[in-house]
Amino acid sequence: MEERHRVLVISHGHPEINPGGGERAAYDLFRELKSRPGVHAMFLARHDGGGQNAAVFSQFSPDGSEVLMNSECEFFRFSQRDVQLVCRDFRGLLEWYRPTVVHLHHFVHLGLEVIREIKNYSPSVPIVLTLHEYLGICNNNGQMIRTRGDELCRRATPGACHRCFPDVSPQNFFLRELFIKSFFSLVDAFVSPSQFLIDRYVAWGLPREKFVLIENGQPALEPAPARPLGSSGTRGRFAFFGQIQRYKGLQVLLEAMTLLPKALRGGLDGISLDVHGAHLAWQSAEYQSAVHKKLERTRQYVRMHGGYDHADVASLMSGVDWVVVPSIWWENSPLVIQEAFAHGRPVICSDIGGMVEKVRHGENGLHFRVGNAQHLAERLVEAATTPALWDRLRAGIRPGSRIRDTVDKHLEIYDGFSPYHRVPVTPSLRVV
């Protein structure tokens, strides 16, 4: 069969080594592409060198289609300081594999320079870049929240960034922006799983016409059954899934649990919470002790389960009615919302950013004012005590997109590039 595309999928990690949403999405894309007729795909994942051979590259899968690349970059402007690694080693891999499309899921660890080297290799090979958070815009882990007070940031400017990081001058923030944009200007299409992220990057100065909105599709799965209710039970069981770190807002949810009316704390007709989340021990001592203090106060009706295996999500879901996403940052397209919907669980989330795009208030979930524990507590009470609300919101959940659909849309992008694709190189650098 004629080979339509040779797609090099590049990821900042291999999900079997670095489990994470971005890595998983990149790998799922590669696996599905590889299964399509007429498409040859290769997966290049960065790793930190531990446990592999001494060469820059090492084979990960027996068939040679999954390769690891040993690299690290600096994290202010994501520059790969080892130019040889890019211009000799990475270039060698391009020449060997001869991709017709390069799809990058991220640029951290690898360094932005790989983007330019793809163009050096061949200006006619289109570059697609999937953006997972606001790293290009924001130096605070790409979260777009302020370093002090967890205030939400609506627009990054050299002056505003300098106020978040007083050690870095506004001039250097401006240079960072110019530098990052000089590479982004070489990208032919940006993929984003949320409209919110597109709007943020367009406001930052990237051209809207280069963006395509594609949901991260989920593998097909058997939905967990609804939790059976006893004769007098209500829909009062809530769950938190995900990593425990302050941006994810578990502290807001626990605070809300302490504010519940006494009568509703636990019991068959009351409210309880299951926390499924790892990495609490990686957080600061103050954060840990604040969480432990709240857990102590609510131990009658809050259960802390720790980390979980992705394969167990269905069974964990079967014991709960609602999923709460209390993030205090904007989010992009949280995997936990997709999973909750896949299992027919309505979602209660903060009323900002990528979350409200996926969860519509009164349709398939409820919103509360971000960071506001009192308001969240009211929502929890409303959710647990309003008759038939759960059933109505559950019925409002639309089926999410599947990996199959996602990859179809990606192939549409690849097909859209002409065989002799040439990129008009006119960097558009002006700050909007």
């Binding site: 211009c87 050299p158 558009s428």
Partner: protein, 790 residues
């Protein structure tokens, strides 16, 4: 967690000495604490600063999880030994706490402790603890001067250390330790030198040398100038002490530092020393010395007389006379002595900067509110200056006001400092170094002769001198700038050794042989800007045809910058030439060096912090330049990162605080960059060299940028004035826009930064050179504003 965590591991009552406390204190806030021992029914015993700190890796380990690296590093020596001095009896059963009170009024921290008597055998673990920390323990006892006390001796014995071993560890001899040395009074008078009066607790015969140091290289044997007086009892001194008077004449004392150390070396090979501050001026001496006894004064008079006898050879008859009269009076009425010598006059020459072939810049001070001093003249072998006082600029000297308190309370001004440029054509550094001195001439033939405390000469690179001058003499007004700083700095800068014409050039990639434009970018300091420029030039086809020249004008970073260009070429593929200067020549010279090797018909001078907004700007600028009538210089619109205007042409202006001084100004700076409907080039008085296009031949024919401005300032406006003088015009293009990351310009008010002084100096130079032309240009005024190219 509290900011301070403390654990007291040991507390021993030492009879007649106090309480020895040991343990650790781990402090996370970098606060300063008052520490006191609270013993039940006793007033608090201040411990103050007399701790001895010891390294405690175990404590660092203890906090290594919860504390930041910075806090851990600060607390490496968290162990302490402290002595709460208490001469009386302390009941070991008293309830006792150690109290830490932060100076910034944060919460106090307490540690409870249970006292133990030190008499009798020590518990083995306590003995071990002390033995392990013996050096710290001894340091503490030495600090409190209690080594010889019986309770301390018995503790040390119980710890099990040999006295000999102790001595070896401490490097002191317990018997010599008993020697004490004190200074009652130390004063330096302008011309008499330094006088010290003090006592030492042994017989004069045991002193083998007396050395005076200032903490630096100065180390003078002052024994020849020392007179020991007979022993006599004085309250507050050891009974067997011997008083002494030391009078060091100025000839033996090149510099009179404020902080001095006097060390007596003893015949048994040990020594004793003390540190003290000297005050300056006769009046102060008299007032602080009022308690000195008659016998000491008498000895002092003898010392002074003896050394003045030597000075007769200098022919200073008047001084000799006044000294004899001092001695006479000292015998009768001691307190009048120094009045007669210096009365109300004091002064010094702090610095002389030699301006080769041109003169001297003199910086000093003079207290003369009764206006007795008639002239101040510099003398050197074969020449002398005029009186520098009439022209001198008066400097504020708050440090002297402080040093002379309480006398200075009566002064009418703190402007007792002065600075003056004294012209002396043809003067040479070596002659001045060997023979320069100054005379202060008073009424009635009284004359003082002084050597400058610091004589500064340059050795090819005058920059350090210029920096020092601008720090010492803030250019507070136009007068000091025009009369003193301007001529002095101008002369210094002119004396620098000439730069090399040829510097090594490295080719990276294949720069074009016959380019239209050569882009010259000087690099100083931040060479990382090269990477940003290359990343932003990489996709602009103009830069494949242009000749990009980086002139690295900074030997510190030359190799790094060259290496960076080489490393990045495979990625960005922008060919360039790199000139590596073997010394820092300044902005103008760097551009000239680049222009000298450039091959293009046109030059574009570009700063390393100018960044393109879009591709094609260089060819656009070229097209506009080639269409100009009378093409001279063409600039671009430069924008701040926020999009507001940084540069849209320059003009000249004056500010009220420096009348007559022409400064450059950037009209529209900081304004929003409004879309300009008239996109054609606009004639302006001058443009910045941050981005300036000019024909290469024209550039060379007017001599390029003037290298006599210092460190990158005004050479661009000067260059534009040169082009005008050659009949050319100056333009900027509103259509071509680039970013310029220029720092916010410094304000002309208030800052004492030397860089600010340099700007004023450069403005002075521009005014000297072009003042007339600028005035004329601005008078012609309105015509150029509306003039545009076809």
């Amino acid at each position: 967690m509290a900011a301070l965590r403390c654990n007291v591991e040991l507390s021993l009552v030492l009879e007649g000495v106090g309480v020895l406390v040991a343990g650790w204190a781990f402090e996370s806030r970098a606060a300063v604490y008052d520490v006191a021992l609270l013993v039940e029914s006793e007033p608090p015993i201040e411990i103050g600063e007399s701790w001895v700190r010891v390294s405690r890796p175990d404590v660092v380990e203890l906090f290594s999880v919860s504390a930041s690296d910075e806090v851990l590093a600060r607390n490496r020596d968290s162990g302490f030994f402290a002595l709460a001095a208490h001469g009386g009896v302390i009941d070991p059963r008293s309830r006792t706490r150690l109290l830490f009170t932060p100076m910034d009024r944060g919460p106090s921290v307490e540690a409870a402790l249970s006292l133990e008597p030190s008499t009798g055998p020590l518990e083995p673990n306590v003995a071990n603890y002390l033995r392990h920390n013996l050096p710290a323990l001894l340091r503490l006892f030495k600090m409190h001067d209690v080594v010889a006390r019986p309770s301390v001796q018995s503790l040390l014995a119980a710890v099990g250390s040999e006295p000999r071993e102790l001595d070896r560890m401490m490097g002191f001899d317990p018997s010599a330790n008993a020697v004490e040395l004190g200074i009652d009074l130390a004063a330096a008078n302008l011309d008499e030198g330094l006088v010290m009066i003090g006592w030492v607790s042994l017989e004069a015969e045991r002193v083998s040398a007396a050395r005076l140091g200032n903490g630096g290289a100065e180390n003078i044997d002052v024994l020849p100038f020392t007179s020991f007086l007979s022993s006599h009892a004085v309250a507050g001194r050891p009974a067997s002490s011997t008083s002494f008077v030391i009078g060091v004449p100025p000839a033996a004392l090149a510099i009179v530092p404020r902080r001095l150390t006097l060390r007596f070396e003893l015949t048994d090979g040990t020594s004793v020393s003390t540190s003290f501050s000297a005050v300056f001026g006769g009046r102060v001496l008299v007032e602080t010395a009022s308690s000195i006894e008659g016998e000491a004064w008498l000895a002092l008079a003898e010392v002074i007389e003896e050394h003045w006898t030597e000075r007769r050879a200098w022919g200073e008859e008047s001084i000799r006379k006044s000294v004899s009269s001092v001695a006479k009076q000292a015998r009768g009425k001691a307190s009048a002595m120094f009045e007669a010598v210096s009365k109300s006059v004091a002064g010094a020459i702090d610095y002389v900067f030699v301006i080769p072939n041109r003169g001297l810049l003199v910086v000093g001070w003079m207290i003369d509110f009764e206006e007795r001093v008639r002239s101040l003249v510099a003398h050197w072998s074969g020449g002398r200056s005029g009186d520098v006082l009439p022209e001198a600029f008066r400097l504020s000297r708050p440090d002297l006001v402080k040093a002379y308190a309480p006398w200075s309370e009566g002064w009418s001004s703190d402007r007792v400092g002065f600075a003056c440029f004294a012209p002396a054509p043809g003067v040479r550094s070596d002659v001045l170094e060997s023979s320069l001195y100054f005379t202060f001439q008073c009424e009635s033939k009284v004359r003082w002769r002084l050597r400058p405390l610091q004589l500064r000469t340059t050795n090819g690179d005058p920059t350090p001198c210029i920096r020092e001058i601008l720090k010492l003499i803030p250019p507070e007004d136009a007068n000091v700038l025009f009369k003193h700083l301007g001529p002095a700095i101008d002369g210094l800068w002119a004396s620098r050794s000439p730069r090399r014409e040829q510097e090594p050039v490295f080719e990276i990639g294949a720069p074009p042989e016959r380019p239209t434009v050569s882009v010259v970018v000087p690099i100083y300091g931040r060479y990382d800007l090269i990477e940003y420029q290359l990343a932003l030039f990489a996709d602009d086809p103009d830069f494949q045809g242009a000749e990009l020249i980086y002139v690295v004008d900074d030997p510190r970073i030359a190799q790094l910058a060259l290496r960076l260009c080489r490393e990045l070429f495979p990625l960005y593929r922008v060919p360039c030439r790199v000139v590596v200067c073997r010394r820092n020549n300044g902005f103008a010279a760097a551009n000239n060096v680049g222009a000298a090797i450039a091959r293009g018909r046109l030059l574009l001078l570009l700063n390393s912090d100018v960044m393109p907004i879009r591709s094609g700007w260089l060819s656009e600028l070229t097209r506009i330049y080639d269409a100009l009538r009378q093409p001279g210089a063409l600039g671009a619109t430069l924008l701040f990162p926020d999009g507001s205007v940084q540069h849209a042409g320059m003009t000249f202006g004056q500010i009220p605080t420096y009348p007559g001084l022409w400064l450059n100004s950037h009209p529209k700076k900081g304004h929003p960059n409004e879309p300009n409907t008239r996109k054609g080039p606009v004639a302006v008085p001058a443009v910045t060299a941050a981005c300036l296009m000019v024909e290469r031949q024209l550039y060379l024919s007017v001599g390029g940028l003037d290298e006599d401005y210092i460190l990158g300032d005004f050479e661009d406006s000067d260059f534009c004035l040169k082009l005008r003088a050659a009949g050319r015009q100056v333009w900027y293009s509103p259509a071509v826009e680039l970013y310029h990351l220029e720092r916010q310009s410094q304000t002309l008010i208030g800052t004492q930064d030397w860089r600010h002084g340099l700007t004023l100096y450069n403005a002075w130079r521009q005014t000297e050179k072009w003042g007339g032309a600028i005035g004329k240009l601005l008078q012609e005024g309105s015509s150029w504003k509306s003039d545009t190219a076809s």
